[in-house]
């Protein structure tokens, strides 16, 4: 197994962990963190798999650099929206979460 493939598979693992956490965690801060873990997995796949031919590929590296900044902007916006939700509802979870939990308790 080459190093590039190892990076890519580690990225896949991170992405899957992020997806599971995004579904399972109700707290919005954890959802935002899970979203960031997913993004890190994608970046790892892009950069790691970009060097599978033996030489580092600058194109995925530049795309990841762009992606990091966009993910940062998305995270900041998500945090602002989550805080607004906290102001309005007094709790850091989506209104739908309550319904799901109620239904599951039945």
């Amino acid at each position: 197994m080459s190093a590039a493939l190892l990076y890519a598979l580690a990225g896949v693992a991170l992405f899957v962990i992020g997806v599971a956490a995004l579904i399972l965690q109700a707290h919005l801060l954890r959802k935002i963190l899970a979203f960031n873990v997913m993004g890190s997995g994608v970046f790892l796949v892009l950069v790691g798999f970009g060097q599978r031919s033996g030489v580092p590929d600058p194109v995925p590296q530049a795309m990841v650099l762009t992606g990091i900044v966009v993910a940062l902007a998305a995270t900041a916006l998500a945090l602002a929206l989550a805080r607004r939700l906290l102001d309005l509802n007094g709790e850091m979870r989506l209104p739908e979460e309550e319904i799901v939990r109620d239904r599951l308790d039945v």
């Binding site: 493939l5 890519a8 598979l9 896949v12 693992a13 992405f15 899957v16 962990i17 997806v19 599971a20 579904i23 399972l24 796949v45 798999f49 599978r52 031919s53 030489v55 580092p56 590929d57 600058p58 194109v59 590296q61 530049a62 795309m63 650099l65 762009t66 900044v69 966009v70 940062l72 902007a73 998305a74 900041a76 916006l77 945090l79 602002a80 929206l81 805080r83 607004r84 906290l86 102001d87 007094g90 599951l104 308790d105 039945v106």
Partner: protein, 225 residues
């Protein structure tokens, strides 16, 4: 019921992971050798570092849209109504006006500005560039704010707003100017280095302000008085 949901999510995540991992193993080699292409065109890109060449020349529209996305995110955050709840969220106010922190911040910030300038300049031939420089400057802004030396930006004034949009405007102006030749963001090789440095300088200013603004605009003002 809850455990069933958790178990099914775990199973689905496992299936997703296996499918993605299998597709990684199964992926054929790329038809186009991008590193070779980049290396071949590096001489006409105006910079000597391949990542900077890709970011600001070969795929310049990525960077153009990226700074637009950043600006949009900050505008959306500023457009949100200010906090009205009484929920106490900012326990850090005890740190403010701490003379130790303020002295360290005053010592560090000039160094950070120096580092940002170097990183911006070094981006032409080694790892670095506008984003890294902007991030260092934004870090300086956040440090100043945490030390209580920089007030939060609840409503940016005219100069700040111009600074926030400056990088995008410079980028669009350059893109429009070189479009007279026919293609979007295709710099003439003789001018490429200077144009990239111009765009990067504008981007650094705006990125630093936007990134710092993402933090400073979100700071709660109600606790600080």
């Amino acid at each position: 019921m809850k455990t069933l949901l958790v178990a099914s999510v775990f199973v689905l995540a496992g299936v997703l992971g296996l499918a993605l991992g299998w597709s990684m193993l199964d992926l054929p080699a790329t038809a186009v050798k991008l590193p070779v292409e980049v290396k071949a065109q590096l001489a006409v890109s105006g910079v000597a570092h391949p990542v900077t060449a890709v970011l600001l020349n070969f795929r310049g529209y990525d960077t153009l849209l990226e700074i637009a996305v950043l600006l949009l995110a900050l505008l959306a955050i500023l457009a949100l109504p200010q906090a009205t709840s009484s929920v106490e969220r900012c326990p850090a106010s005890a740190n403010r006006m701490n003379p130790m922190l303020q002295t360290v911040a005053r010592l560090l910030v000039p160094l950070m500005v120096l580092v940002a300038g170097y990183v911006l300049w070094a981006g032409a031939y080694r790892p670095g560039g506008a984003f890294q420089a902007g991030a260092v400057l934004a870090g300086a802004g956040v440090l100043l704010h945490l030390a209580g030396l920089l007030p939060p930006w609840t409503s940016p004034g005219r100069a700040l707003r111009v600074g926030l949009a400056f990088g995008l405007l410079v980028f669009i102006a350059v893109a429009a100017a070189v479009m007279l030749q026919g293609t979007l963001l295709q710099y003439p090789p003789a001018w490429a280095g200077a144009l990239i440095l111009l765009i990067e300088a504008g981007l650094t200013v705006s990125l630093a302000l936007v990134l710092a603004g993402l933090y400073l605009a979100l700071t709660d003002t109600s606790v600080q008085q």
